[in-house]
Subunit: 321 residues, 2 copies
């Protein structure tokens, strides 16, 4: 949750004169997203989301994020659509921050997703991968091999505070992934953060994907492995093969994985588990005690990493050959 | 801002089966209020506010707060209206908290109110005082003389950390107010917290009052003095007599103050300045450093208190006899 920047009604009204959106009726800061300030606007026409981009977001990346949403929506994916200003720009300025107006997507994220929801998520992820084709702007993944190395260097010295032996284990993992990371798999635009809170449902129907602020160019199957980690484990750390099977079936019903992608899935899953472990570990070690931010336990992703390490074949994820 | 309790879609849907509100389309935690968790719901019919009452709110007070909003709305005041459940109750239970569904009020609060807005606030406050007549439930003001004494005892020992000499000054003030506090003024239901963020406007028109969770029975003119403190001072601490005059004129156009109320206004204003000084002082001294809560500077209200202390006659507030 986050509202970092307050805005005055006058500034907001001035900002809105650049858009064709009717009359402003109300705006509320909403507890959504951790990187930006988000407001839900009611207007005489339709509800809108106003996003103010805070410092953690690289300004130079905004054309990629906003352009991508526009590209995906124009190709039929249900996702928030940035509204162009009267001058055609997707980005304005409000309270000293880059700011965008974005369509409001009805729907709710599922705190307890089941297999049938995982199937829909798989389908939507594949649909996004297909819809992302032809998007002109590129953004390399800052949180891949090299980025992990950098993150690890900031946490390494204190890692054994979280669990004794962690220093050696993670260093070995980084070495393994450095020498076994797949090359030449199909790549494209990936979401890279498709956790349950970024997928909306209305009833059992998936109503849209949100939060493209980690999106980048990378291996498509890596995005699948992120979803396996995010959607297919129980609270107690056990892999739920029913959900995994549903997610993979849903994905393949839209975009079948090739043999090399399937073979690489355990390694990719180790990588994505490590990626979330490392950001959580860093936050865990650097967030001051008493801060009102929920620290996510890095151990959850350490357990997932260890699970993937003992996988002998992708069939164990529930993949039907 | 505050969302203390998260709710699952399933629990919320179950909760909503007790109401006749159409289909749930979305819900967002909103950054509003400091005592409770608030969610903005979109349904197939109309937007609603869902409030979960957190520990700081006394459960026994909820029938007063919810009943009051219903009473005021039924008498024409624009304020949030609690929706009755199918069984007639105004209060349900969600995620282990007492919870209510309340109508959503369009409008925005003004970060920089001007005199014309203060006039509307004065009118609305008086209208609330009139509309509150006949409300059957009573709630004494926990933050009057006795409550101040209790708050002060918790902060007294460390008060000089904020400003040297404060211990003696506040003790003398409490003594003065204890012996000069007016009796026998008209009383009734007061809002007791009508700050700018609790008054919504659409353009220059006041669209409603919100947040009745400090409402109680007390002297009506005390509520006026709270508004003078909340609306009629500049950021630099100077009293803005134009705004004060407008607020008092607006109030008296609906409910004229009697001679005793007018005479008591400086003393009442000292009391209300002290009341907000004391709660802010307490929060200031007890909120841990590093907590992501904005501490409100108690000094602001100390300055206001000192201003009121040197007022010789209520005419200095801009009161036209």
């Amino acid at each position: 949750m986050a509202v970092y920047t307050d805005i005055t009604e006058d500034d907001l009204k001035w900002f809105l004169t650049e858009y064709d959106v009717g009359t402003l009726l109300s705006y509320k800061g909403i507890a959504e997203g951790v990187e930006n300030s988000n407001f839900l606007l009611h207007t005489s026409r339709e509800p809108l989301i106003l996003t103010l981009y805070e410092k953690r977001v690289e300004k130079g990346d905004l054309p990629f994020f906003l352009g991508l949403m526009q590209h995906l929506a124009s190709r039929g994916l249900s996702c928030p659509l940035p509204l162009p200003r009267k001058d055609g720009a997707l980005l304005g300025n409000l309270s000293g921050r880059p700011a965008a107006l974005i369509s409001f997507l009805e729907g709710m994220w599922l705190r307890k997703p089941e297999a049938r929801h995982c199937r829909e998520v798989g389908k939507a992820l594949a649909a996004m991968h297909v819809a992302g084709e032809g998007f002109a702007i590129k953004r390399p993944n800052a949180l891949s091999l090299e980025g992990w190395q950098g993150l690890w260097e900031k946490s390494e010295a204190r890692a054994d505070e979280v669990e004794p032996g962690l220093q050696d284990e993670i260093r070995a993992e980084l070495d393994f992934l450095g020498s076994h990371w797949p090359k030449d798999l199909p790549d494209g635009v990936i979401h890279a953060d498709l956790f349950p809170d970024n997928v909306f449902f209305l009833g059992d129907e998936l109503s849209g994907l949100i939060d493209f602020y980690f999106a980048c160019n990378d291996l498509l199957a890596y995005d699948v492995s992120i979803c396996l980690n995010a959607w297919c484990f129980e609270k107690d750390g056990a892999y739920n093969i029913t959900r995994g099977m549903a997610l993979l079936e849903g994905y393949q019903s839209v975009r079948p994985l090739d043999a090399a992608e399937i073979a690489a899935l355990p390694t990719l899953s180790r990588g994505s588990a490590l990626r979330f472990f490392l950001t959580r570990l860093y936050d865990w070690l650097t967030t001051p005690a008493g801060a009102l931010v929920t620290k996510k336990d890095p151990i959850e992703y350490l357990r997932k990493l260890r699970f993937h390490r003992q996988i002998a074949s992708s069939a164990e994820y529930g993949l039907n050959a």
